[in-house]
């Protein structure tokens, strides 16, 4: 109130009562930020003493008030230079003193004026003024501008959401273009400086132009504002709508009693975590994830991700199950009952059991069974699991080419899952299961990384107690898992991986073993598969031998089993047709059922002529015999090699030829005789690629036999690399080669002496049936091979 009292002080009745203003002089009110136009009624708030005094004076004397804009709105006592010189003379219609001490006047503009001079000596600002007349002449141009202005104004009013409804009507009713311009200038939202400029424009046409420009700008701003606010509203309403729907859904679920589902799920998971017996580190992690899940809406996509992850965590076998005491005798019994032979493997498994019995927390071995197909690697794994009473899971690695298949994908990926190893662990449900990593030799490397490298961690006893799957992100102890790898070709298993495993070779079976296996397992199984029993049909021993020798030639027993199955199906057909008699299948009864023998004793058939020697080859399927044929035809002294021979084998043939040429003297052949002849070496079967140095001895013997015209003994097979000094060097795959020789009906095998160390691995049966000749030089071979 003190301010207002001060103001009143400045306008005490006594001060004002005696004041007389000369004619042409009016009291002036300075305003900060508004411009009063003629005709327009506008409220003005006045606070400054001189202004109040001026208003009071004007009212009391029924005089007009001059209203002038100051240039700077912040100046409290502006100097006269800072006041515009043109303003509006106005009549005060109302006067109000508000309770807070401010004074308000409502005034109506009358006419524009120009200040001629300011007068000093009054309690208010006074000025001598001259009224300005405006040009209101109506030209067609002015009319056009007026029309345009009305149009713009209508648009503007339509776009101003809170415009008073009367406003549009009032605008329409104004007929004078000057008044329309002034009224528009009053209400359009432009700075006071611009309004003052319009006020000062006396000519109608430029005034209309200025107002039009201001309205146009304003319209543009309004349009933009509207656009922006509409966009905002759109995005806002979209998210709000979703939120609202979500809330509604929640309410509906609550009404339906489904609200508890979420918390029930959380409680269930919580219990599962407790029950899973996780290591402390993992449990902390799981509980943290559970907390996150609890706070999440079931609607969110993340929910199911976390849920799946927790399901994986709780379903993994973290704890070690209680196992009954191991009975080694019983395990041996089971192993023997299910697999014939394979003593070395069985012994290794029993050793493991014995060690485990003495030291229960010891590490499990990592074994690898290597051998040709059909020798029982996979079924042996299953039977080991049965023997020691553990769960068995198989992870097939054939064709696996992505590191992520072993170790899983990170959880950030869509559809991420743990790798094969962890998946197998969940399937096994026990941390000390037997995990068979099948087809280790068929891993391949690709752009997605090397799965073998990931397996290194799995198979390293020093590391696999904290195997970290990318998906799980927490360590898992694999050290109690008994890993068994299998491979056909141990050489194809990456070196570091091979190094981590204890390789147990499963060579092929010999005839007697196959017979035994057929009697013990295959016949029973096939009888069962055909719905027969041993009371209805039988395969004689002679027939089985005939099948093994002439119908199958394999390291394993798969083909044998198929043949037995074919025989029994033949019987089954007869039985099903009503033949009640007992069926006995003998050796001579095979041909009508299985067809003519597929293999025969080729060795005896084909080496009756000079220039043919029998070699031994190693194949992934277990080894085979091959023939080296050499002949000499008229030509130009060159060596022709055919039969899909690899580079190493070609070089080996060249070496053999050179060695033979060194012995021409002993054979009584002149070197020049040789010059006009081509030597042709062929190794059937021509379609199968062959390579390796081990046929060196056979090629040499074939060449020598051809030149000396002495045939090679048909029951002798040979293997060994040759050097130019005539030495016989050791080769690999001795076991498989000997078994192949045995299968092919060979009686004598010549081997490099330095391969004698491999003899231990050779099955007893083969050792007894074959005559083995150990070679130091090629002369030893010649001495024994030629007839």
């Amino acid at each position: 109130m003190s301010e207002s009292r001060n103001h009143r002080g400045a306008a005490e009745p006594d001060d004002l009562a005696d004041i007389q203003l000369p004619s042409g002089v009016v009291p002036v009110v300075l305003v900060r930020n508004l411009v009063v136009f003629p005709v327009v009624i506008l409220p003005i708030t006045i606070g400054r003493g001189p202004s109040i005094a001026a208003a009071q004076f004007a009212l009391r004397r029924e005089k007009s008030l001059a209203i002038l804009l100051q240039k700077s709105p912040d100046a409290d006592v502006p100097s006269l230079d800072e006041v515009y010189r043109i303003g509006t003379v106005a009549t005060v219609l109302r006067y109000l003193t508000a309770p807070d001490g401010t004074h308000h006047i409502v005034c109506q503009g009358e006419s524009r004026f120009r200040v001629k001079e300011f007068l000093e000596g009054y309690p208010f600002l006074a000025a001598r003024i001259e009224l300005l007349s405006t040009d209101e002449a109506m030209t067609s141009e002015v009319e056009a501008f007026t029309l345009e202005l009305r149009q713009r104004l209508r648009e503007m009013v339509a776009m101003t959401p809170d415009a008073p409804p009367d406003f549009a009507i009032a605008l329409e009713q104004i007929s004078s273009p000057g008044t329309l311009a002034d009224l528009t200038a009053t209400f359009v939202d432009i700075p006071p400086r611009d309004k003052q400029e319009i006020l000062e424009t006396l000519a109608l046409k430029p005034r209309l132009q200025k107002v039009l420009a201001a309205v146009g700008r304003r319209l543009e701003v309004l349009r933009l504002t509207k656009e922006i606010s509409e966009q905002t509203r759109q995005t806002m309403s979209e998210s709000q709508r979703k939120y609202l729907l979500g809330e509604q859904l929640k309410t509906i679920q609550k009404q339906l009693g489904e609200d508890d589902q979420h918390s029930a799920e959380i409680a269930e998971l919580d219990q599962a975590i407790t029950k899973a017996a996780m290591p402390p580190e993992v449990e902390t992690h799981a509980r943290k994830e559970l907390k996150r899940l609890e706070r999440m809406s079931e609607m969110s996509g993340e929910y199911s991700l976390v849920r799946t992850y927790l399901d994986w965590l709780v379903e993994l076998p973290w704890g070690l199950p209680e196992r009954p005491r191991m009975d080694i005798a019983k395990a041996r019994e089971i192993l023997d009952a299910e697999h014939y032979g394979l003593h070395k493997v069985k012994r290794r498994i029993l050793e493991y059991l014995a060690v485990r019995k003495l030291k229960p927390d010891g590490k499990s071995p990592i074994l690898c069974f290597a051998g040709p197909p059909g020798v029982g690697k996979t079924s042996l794994g299953q039977s080991i699991a049965r023997a020691i009473g553990r769960e068995f899971v198989r992870v097939s690695l054939g064709g696996c080419h992505d590191e992520a298949e072993i170790r899983g994908h990170r959880r950030t990926y869509v559809g991420a899952l743990p790798g094969n190893v962890i998946q197998a662990m969940r399937k096994a449900g026990a941390r000390d299961c037997i995990m068979m990593l099948d087809e280790l030799d068929k891993l391949s490397t690709s752009l997605q990384g090397d799965p073998a490298a990931a397996l290194l961690e799995v198979l390293d006893p020093e590391q696999n107690n904290s195997f970290r799957d990318n998906y799980l992100g927490v360590p898992f102890d694999l050290s109690h898992v008994l890993f068994i790898g299998t491979a056909n070709l141990i050489e194809a298993v990456p070196g570091p991986l091979r190094d981590r495993m204890e390789v147990i070779q499963l060579p092929g079976y010999v005839e007697e073993e196959k017979l035994e296996i057929a009697h013990r397992y295959l016949i029973r199984r096939q009888l069962d598969a055909c719905g027969l029993d041993s009371g209805r049909c039988e395969i004689t021993e002679a027939a089985l031998k005939e099948i093994i020798r002439n119908y199958t030639r394999e390291a394993g027993v798969r083909e044998l089993e198929r043949c037995i199955g074919a025989l029994f199906r033949h019987c089954a057909m007869a039985v099903a047709e009503g033949d009640e008699s007992f069926h006995r299948i003998d050796a001579d009864g095979l041909a009508p059922i299985l067809g003519a023998p597929r293999y025969e004793n080729e060795a005896a058939l084909r080496t009756g002529v000079p220039g043919v020697a029998t070699g031994l080859a190693w194949t992934p399927a277990g080894g085979d015999i091959l023939f080296v044929e050499a002949t000499r035809v008229a030509g130009s002294g060159s060596l022709i090699l055919t039969g899909q021979l690899g580079d190493v084998m070609k070089e080996s043939a060249l070496a053999a030829l050179t060695l033979v040429k060194g012995k021409l003297n002993a054979l009584g052949i002149k070197p020049q005789d040789f010059r006009d002849d081509d030597v042709h070496v062929h190794v059937p079967a021509g379609a199968i690629p062959k390579d390796g140095p081990s046929a060196g001895v056979a090629i040499f013997v074939a060449l020598y036999s051809m030149l000396s015209e002495r045939p090679v003994r048909h029951d002798v097979a040979m293997t060994g690399e040759i050097s130019l000094r005539g030495q016989v060097l050791p080769v690999g795959g001795i076991k498989e080669k000997l078994l192949a020789a045995l299968r092919a009906g060979i009686g004598t095998v010549m081997l490099p002496r330095r391969n004698q160390k491999d003899l231990d691995d050779i099955p007893e049966q083969a050792r007894l049936s074959l005559t083995l000749i150990w070679l130091d030089t090629i002369d030893d071979a010649l001495a024994n091979a030629l007839r």
């Binding site: 005490e12 009745p13 009071q56 009391r60």
Partner: protein
């Protein structure tokens, strides 16, 4: 203001409180009724104004009458209302 029409008579009532009857004039010209007058500031010039809402000073009101030819027959100022009676002169439109 109110305008009533009753047969051949038109009655116009204008609210003009605080205006002395002798300070107003009524003119009828070509169907437009013009009332002019003034009400002086009611207090001495040295009184301080706290609130001023009643209009003072000169005023002029123009009233467009329903189209016809009228003749002012009577005027009465009572209770702050000026009541004017007009009668239709011809009954035909001018």
């Amino acid at each position: 203001m109110d305008i009533f029409e009753n047969g051949r008579e038109l009655r116009v009532i204008v609210l003009l409180p605080g205006v002395a009857a002798d300070r107003m004039t009524v003119e009828l010209d070509d169907g437009v009724l013009t009332i002019t007058g003034s009400s002086p500031f009611p207090v001495p010039a040295h009184a301080h104004i706290h609130r001023l809402e009643i209009p003072y000073g000169g005023f002029e009101k123009k009233i467009q009458l329903p189209s016809s030819i009228y003749e002012l027959t009577a005027s009465e100022y009572r209770d702050g209302c000026l009541t004017l009676r007009l009668s239709k002169a011809g009954g035909r439109q001018g």
